[in-house]
Symmetry: C2
Subunit: 349 residues, 2 copies
């Protein structure tokens, strides 16, 4: 990797002149500039951004402590972030959340030592350690929390979804179809799960429907057998619900599987609502009816907000001034109708 000094030596000019020529600053004759540019191109010169970072105090780098990116929800959020960051000449150093949970302090220390300008925290279900939260306090750079919050990060900006409203939407949809006996399989461990659940309860209340404890199920994480077992229990009970609202599409898929394995027809015997609108929702049969989120927008806005906090205008926000105070930006959701919801079975009281 050729250095500025080499290029300067080859051209027979000073390092300073070479620097000016290559960075497009005035103070060199056009002839000299051209000569330097051509030599630099020949020798494949690449300025060392690490030096620039040290000199300017800005690394043009952000840390991204990231969810497990195991489906297109996570994937699209990350893609949205990377796109916006890239547009502002920023890059992301990515560390999986798993590592944050297991050796959180060390991870944050690494970020500090690499002088990232800010942090995008996109956590999954697991709560990070106390040591992590501790280290976070001494991080002293802008932080944006994405999708989910947890205890200890109340002082940071947040970008996520309208989870509460989504919970309401699910109920509204089912009630419009005549359902009254609606169960829920939730994930209260997460802020998103709690919000969706509150939305569910609020929706039920608005429609004057009772929330029965026996129909309110809680899982500790999704992607395990838990949701499947709860769904089976719900469907096998003496008076099964006519509809089940799931924490997300993965849970909804488990409910679908349970219904199938018990010989129940969806939506004739039971209706199911998911949350997220993963790719898989439109691929399975019956297609999932789901509360669609907008992960790409979440990712873009989260990165955009971080750039604002860093004093960098995100490309799309143009010249608007950054909002004052703590931001809590919840991207709208909408009900995406599939085939997993139908009219409530008649003949029930």
């Amino acid at each position: 990797m050729s250095s500025l000094a080499e290029i300067a030596r080859i051209c027979g000019v000073s390092i300073g002149a070479t620097s000016k020529a290559l960075s497009g600053k005035p103070g060199v004759s056009e002839a000299t500039r051209q000569r330097i540019l051509s030599v630099a191109a020949q020798h494949n010169y690449r300025p060392n951004r690490l030096v620039h970072a040290i000199q300017s105090g800005r690394s043009l780098t952000v840390g991204l402590t990231c969810n497990d990116f195991r489906d297109d929800f996570s994937g699209r959020i990350v893609e949205g972030m990377l796109e916006v960051l890239y547009g502002a000449d920023y890059d992301a150093i990515v560390i999986s959340w798993d590592l944050c949970v297991h050796e959180g302090e060390k991870v944050l220390r690494t970020f500090a030592e690499r002088r990232v300008d800010g942090l995008l925290m996109f956590p999954p279900a697991d709560q990070p350690s106390q040591a992590y939260l501790q280290e976070l306090k001494s991080f002293h750079r802008p932080i944006v929390v994405v999708d989910q919050t947890f205890a200890g990060v109340e002082d940071y900006d947040f970008v996520g979804s309208q989870d509460f409203e989504g919970g309401v939407l699910a109920v509204d949809h089912l009630v419009a179809l005549g359902h009254r006996d609606i169960a829920n399989i939730g994930l209260r461990k997460t802020s998103t799960g709690r919000a969706r659940l509150e939305g569910f309860r609020a929706g039920m209340q608005r429609h004057g429907l009772a929330v029965h404890d026996k129909w309110m199920r809680e899982i500790q994480r999704y992607g395990t057998e838990e949701a499947y077992r709860h769904a089976k229990e719900l469907l096998q009970g003496p008076t099964p619900p006519t509809a089940i609202v799931a924490f997300n599409d993965w849970v909804a898929m488990d409910v679908l599987a349970a219904a199938h394995d018990l010989g129940r027809r969806v939506p004739q015997d039971v209706s199911i609502v998911g949350f997220a609108d993963l790719k898989v929702a439109s691929v399975v049969r019956p297609r999932l009816t789901t509360v669609a989120q907008d992960p790409s927008t979440i990712g873009r806005r989260a990165a955009g907000r971080l750039l604002e906090l860093l004093g960098v205008m995100a490309p799309e926000t143009g010249g608007e001034p950054a909002p004052e105070g703590l931001v809590c930006d919840r991207v709208p959701v909408r009900l995406a109708p599939g085939e997993s919801c139908g009219p409530a079975p008649s003949g029930r009281v």
Copy 2:
């Protein structure tokens, strides 16, 4: 962010002494060292790794040009990489492949300017631009290609799956169940797709089975309607195949959907084999029979190989010497039985 100079000033010692004390090098009295350490801790001193990178010529950073991470296959590969890198004190700067395709040269230039020590290229279906390949030539740092290769990167190390063998496995499994009329929906645009297809053909030949053109379908990308349409055509033909081998689980899901929509039972009427063993394969009904890959191992080995090329021993490889020459490491696959394959329907010639 307090600097070495500040710590030195507060302690009333030279910068050099402070440096030695904090980096654990000899040449300072124990008393001085302790004093410096405690002051540094109080002031939350974090050494600037960018400086270290400039001085040592190593940034302890690699570039990761990355697939769309929209399912757990991609996700686990990336997680495997990050884990191994982290264990060697390396971090990854991640850029989505989409950006590589659209402004490839600029992306690589960015990596060069940030002085990444090496590159992990994990591409999806789309071929990068000529400009990208051009810039790659002048990158002059170790590169490992992951999962898929493409024209222009033959000179780099590769870590992926036994795609060919997987193609054979799929056929073997179906033949053992009595199938002879086997169709294929492939993705020849990718190296993985071509290898799986070759495996398919080899498997058919070994069993003395004919490969009929009308049953060999090709899609341009998955996740669209293409595979679904081909599956419908195959199933609606005058003499439909009794089994369909799909490029991957997403395509297999589309086949499952098509069979469902046409009222065909799986596996009674038609058997389906996928590839990947995505999470979704065990969640849908019927569960997908699929050629299981091992994405976590792929990611770990790819990162491990890159570290070897960088002269850093990956944690697990211990002290073994790095293999000579170009590595082409294909991680084994295995057939993961689900419920989407059954005995060939009798009564057919």
